[in-house]
């Protein structure tokens, strides 16, 4: 019999349009980052960012002796949207990061939000990045654009560990709240 201890694995999805900070966030909070192949951007996006992610960002957080969390970051370009459904399977929840300073990014995020919002039993939280930039759109603007009433939108800088934690913690609190709501509904009315 193998001596390897069995570990539970949970999954959290980090998604968002190009250049929203997904790779940075995963790097910052992972104990191990296994992939995340940055290559020079060669398409029209090269104007905005010199390096971009191909394949997936993938990080592992060691929670305790019996549990790891896998963080999956989707590539930001719209052409990879065929991966959304597969990646979302079995996820605890989704963090949607959006570059607040780019209306184009907010527009692109609409389709992503609509997809992930409709996944049953998988809470979503929005992280509004680059809020410190002068051209950044407000949280309320993003909420209105995405029609995201009732969803937590957290301003965050994924380069700062505390901010990265704040987003994940907000998602986990939402998940726990929904779990406890399900428990409360043991009382059926």
């Amino acid at each position: 019999m193998s001596s390897m201890a069995y570990k539970e694995v949970a999954k959290i999805l980090i998604t968002g349009p190009f250049n929203s900070g997904k790779t940075t966030l995963i790097k910052l909070i992972s104990d191990e980052q296994l992939t995340g192949n940055d290559v020079e951007a060669t398409d029209e996006l090269a104007h905005y960012k010199s390096m971009t992610t191909v394949s997936l960002d993938f990080g592992v957080m060691h929670i305790d002796d019996g549990l790891n969390v896998h963080l999956f970051g989707t590539p930001g370009q719209a052409r990879f949207n065929f991966m959304w459904k597969t990646l979302s399977q079995g996820a605890l929840g989704t963090v949607l990061l959006i570059d607040s300073s780019s209306q184009k990014a907010i527009d692109e995020a609409k389709e992503m939000y609509a997809f992930y919002r409709n996944l049953p039993e998988r809470p979503i939280i929005i992280g509004a990045t680059k809020q410190d930039l002068p051209q950044a759109k407000s949280i309320e603007h993003i909420r209105t654009e995405l029609d995201a009433e009732g969803v937590h939108i957290v301003a965050c800088n994924p380069c700062i560990k505390e901010d990265a934690k704040k987003v994940i913690i907000a998602l986990l609190e939402d998940i726990i709240e929904k779990e406890s709501f399900a428990e409360d509904n043991a009382f059926t009315f």
């Binding site: 909070i29 929670i63 305790d64 605890l92 937590h152 994940i168 998940i175 709240e177 779990e179 009315f189």
Partner: protein, 200 residues
């Protein structure tokens, strides 16, 4: 579009907001109405509409067929919504259920297993505290303290309604929990991750 069946789903939603001390809004549409969704906002500072007690009374009084809850953007823990407790007490005192609605609510409680009730809190300004204390003592004394057995202790016909009201009140306040055999509750995966995240 087919109509959804009638429920009292707004009551568990109200409980979620009050018991968890979170801001939130409940959007609902009564089954007998063709009116669009109404909304009740419950936050730490203000309530929508002129009269929260009347709104809550309305919310408690009828079944809905559309009802949903949104937590609002409020990441501050321990939001104080104690100010709403007197409004809830007053709403429960004044609510009048149609007999069929009262029966449906009572039926929901009759289906519950043994329950535990928290001791009366000074913030609860409910006028019929004798019903509260009767319920509290009943659950403290009996290991099989189900609402069904509690209703069976009613000696007068009027007590049934008093007992129903106090059950609704303690339920909404989150003072009611299911009595379980004592065992160590295992944290969910999300709770374990959250604990770890708070440490790093």
């Amino acid at each position: 579009m087919a109509k959804k069946s009638r429920t009292f789903n707004q009551i568990p939603l109200l409980r979620t907001i009050l018991a968890k001390k979170r801001s939130g809004s409940i959007r609902y549409c009564f089954s007998s109405d063709s009116s669009p969704l109404e909304k009740i906002n419950i936050t730490s500072k203000q309530f929508s509409g002129e009269n929260i007690t009347e709104q809550m009374k309305d919310l408690l009084s009828r079944p809905t067929y559309t009802c949903e809850w949104n937590s609002q953007v409020q990441l501050m823990p321990n939001t104080s919504i104690d100010a709403i407790v007197p409004c809830l007490c007053s709403a429960v005192e004044r609510v009048v259920w149609k007999p069929k609605h009262a029966l449906a609510l009572k039926q929901a409680f009759l289906n519950m297993p043994a329950i535990h009730i928290e001791a009366p809190d000074p913030a609860v300004t409910y006028s019929d505290m004798s019903a509260y204390i009767a319920l509290y003592r009943f659950t403290e004394k009996n290991s099989k303290s189900s609402p069904k057995l509690f209703f069976a202790t009613a000696s007068k016909k009027g007590d049934q309604m008093r007992y129903l009201k106090v059950l609704v009140l303690v339920y909404c306040l989150g003072f009611m929990s299911i009595k379980k055999a004592k065992k160590i509750k295992k944290d969910s995966i999300a709770t374990r991750v959250l604990k770890r995240m708070r440490k790093i």
